[in-house]
Symmetry: C2
Subunit: 494 residues, 2 copies
Amino acid sequence: MTPEGLGATGDMPPEELRRLAHETADWIADYMASVEGLPVFPDTMPGDLRAALPASAPEDGESMDRVLQDFRDLVVPGLTHWNHPGFFGYFAITSSGPGVLAEMLAAALNVNAMVWRSSPAATELEDVTTEWLRILLGLPGGFEGVINDTASSSSLYALAAAREVAYPEAHRTGLFGLPAGRIYASEQAHSSIEKAVLTLGFGQDGFRTIPCDPEYRMDVGALRAAMEEDVAAGVRPVAVVPTLGTTSSGSIDPVAAVGAVARDFGAWMHIDAAYGGPVAILPELRPMFDGWEQADSIVVNPHKWLFTPIDCSVLYCRRPEALVRAFSIVPEYLTSSEQSESRSLMDYGVSLGRRFRALKLWFVLRYFGREGIVRRLREHVRIAADLEGWVAKTEGWRVVAPVHLGLVTLRYAPTGVVGPTLDAMNHKILDRVNASGEAFLTHTVLDGRTVIRVSIGNIKTTEEHVARVWALLLDAAATVSAAVDETRQADPAR
Amino acid sequence: MTPEGLGATGDMPPEELRRLAHETADWIADYMASVEGLPVFPDTMPGDLRAALPASAPEDGESMDRVLQDFRDLVVPGLTHWNHPGFFGYFAITSSGPGVLAEMLAAALNVNAMVWRSSPAATELEDVTTEWLRILLGLPGGFEGVINDTASSSSLYALAAAREVAYPEAHRTGLFGLPAGRIYASEQAHSSIEKAVLTLGFGQDGFRTIPCDPEYRMDVGALRAAMEEDVAAGVRPVAVVPTLGTTSSGSIDPVAAVGAVARDFGAWMHIDAAYGGPVAILPELRPMFDGWEQADSIVVNPHKWLFTPIDCSVLYCRRPEALVRAFSIVPEYLTSSEQSESRSLMDYGVSLGRRFRALKLWFVLRYFGREGIVRRLREHVRIAADLEGWVAKTEGWRVVAPVHLGLVTLRYAPTGVVGPTLDAMNHKILDRVNASGEAFLTHTVLDGRTVIRVSIGNIKTTEEHVARVWALLLDAAATVSAAVDETRQADPAR
């Protein structure tokens, strides 16, 4: 088969694209309708796909039909299906129909929102959608939003702005020869915060973790003591990064109290609400966010829990001039006459090239509306609480951390079994559930103990799916317990 | 109209998605077939789209048909059409049919290539496609590839690795108290290099620009002298960043000679081949790249000149262990048993979340094949040389920099007109051409003079489009000249 476009130059002919895009549209609709029938985690080993593909690109172009066939036969069976309603791993992020439609269009348009002139509507729709989201979240005016790829980037940019404020002279001289500085976060903070600290040149010593209370929230007294100690030692406090929805336990740092400490020390407060932020849309959960309006910057990820395909992370900044000071370099070839009338979004971060990410957020906010978003998030929070209740009342199981959002942490800990054996049992339970193909879970460690995470956040996940993963967990625990009992009976000395 | 999904929870029903995806497929095919009929740059002013949209998100969900209608009526007329064959601005990047199909699928799958386990085929396809591209480019084995969003990120990550090598102690202590370090690039280097230097904490003093020869290539003697001077002053040379295809002039830095200097000083060589890299696929242009195989890292952007939708930037690194040392932080919740058998791509840069970008590169490389890519790039280079020839032989015009790739720099400079008047005339010519709606150009400044850039790189651009923009330029020059003559006659004293 010869591709229709071969022999010529130019792109795939529009009629070939039309035919293939229709085929692909059907594949996507079928996939969305049937993804629950696929194993969440694939039956594959490292190297399987690599071994199935040639060592180099083809010499001559291939028919797109053949490429799509290979996609279906070789790629799809090797994917972990994040769309599966039984996907409870990491943070169960979620795409949606309107998001997929927007991404189709954005890929076709292929515009670049670096300056207004490079695609006016792309810049202005980013203004509009980040403003709409700000209002939904209940954040005051003055928080200016910009869309980045991931929270890792958003937090890096926010902390670069914090560095700019703490070390105005460093913009010229660099950090060489300046007094050491530190960024503070709880020991439960996401790894992206430490990564940002390293990237910015502060080193591991520039990152100080603050212990948590028994509910995995930053200990504000310990934060103040740490900052006092550092200031006395000549270390400059640069920023404090509390989290609303930590990755291991879903804990909520007390941002109002943290903010007060940060202010006392003149430090920037950046809030990592990448995961938890979207539920500020729920009026009944808004009190958890008290004080976040005092932050200098906040990251919220619509691609995590707001039905927007990855990647879409919104950084809100109340001191955008510091962000722009950190990142604005305007060479002649990017100057234009509209600079004074519109934001140049390239000035708010590292990436110059910027996909048209606002489109998907706009489609999602309009299709679901505030009310539709509230209804869906509320349901996720409700079914997470259901699971928490089931675990709490089941002998041998315990809920490890309070459930505030969609993340439930649990551990099988039957009486009479201790320490490392329990950890191994929980890993085995996890592996058994994942091997079922019906659900996908990941683990963490809290207080030195292995913990199973059930992260509820995919738009397709219902109470039935949560009930099913709970049944799978109970079943796996029974099997694993029986094996442990057998081992004991075989070797009573153990 | 009520969206079909309203009142329920869950996503858009698959059958609604099917209908809308088919509609969108048709819109995309129609758009691709007719984009040439649209004005390249829209008739819009800053604030127009913002004013046309409500101040906040809707309370109730809206019908997707209405959202798509607004997309067509309000958004599309406000876009700069990068797909238009008359788009010659910035670097004329290019998408393609296979790339669009892949992005549709990637959006639907919504998987995350952070670790192997989070989606095995996504990680392995990134291994495979970056390896295929490495072979096409003629780079030796040992260069390990990873896909980032943009060259700005790729260069930031590469220079973070360089910092890791130059300051091993800084991983712990940060840059505080260490001797100052510097990164070198020519005065024609892209702004992203200086941005990376600032982000990494080196400050503006940590970036030293090296003068160029008359063809805008880095002066290697001046580089050596600068590095000698710095070393004598106690400044640590961290990295040198030559460019293959600078943004203002398309110049090609002499990488073999630059690499020899870098080695003499123990500095990392990172090559910015974001724009020029893809033409290393053409055997007849390969000599321009002599010596790039000695780089420590190289960035090449398939989203610039390799038919891949934005964003897709490949960073090749010959010392990946330094990159991983700079960025690897593995918290418990991201550990898994396959870590030793497969790369964890999150360890190669800042972003933890990683879209399935390899899919579009795979589709593009297979659909066009090596031969199809060569044919298309060769044609772009040929028509750029054509334009260079037409300009060179036309009185009153001059080609400002030698044409090696797809970028032609030109300036209208009729005899008897000087300095600032010429700059203003060239700006007026540019504005007239852009107002035509048939072509879009941007400018730069070289040697203090305003220069018009004609960047050829979109897959739809043919010789006819280049001839047309040249006719538009000649016509605009005639009009602008006539206006200048009239002014002179009206005021002979000038």
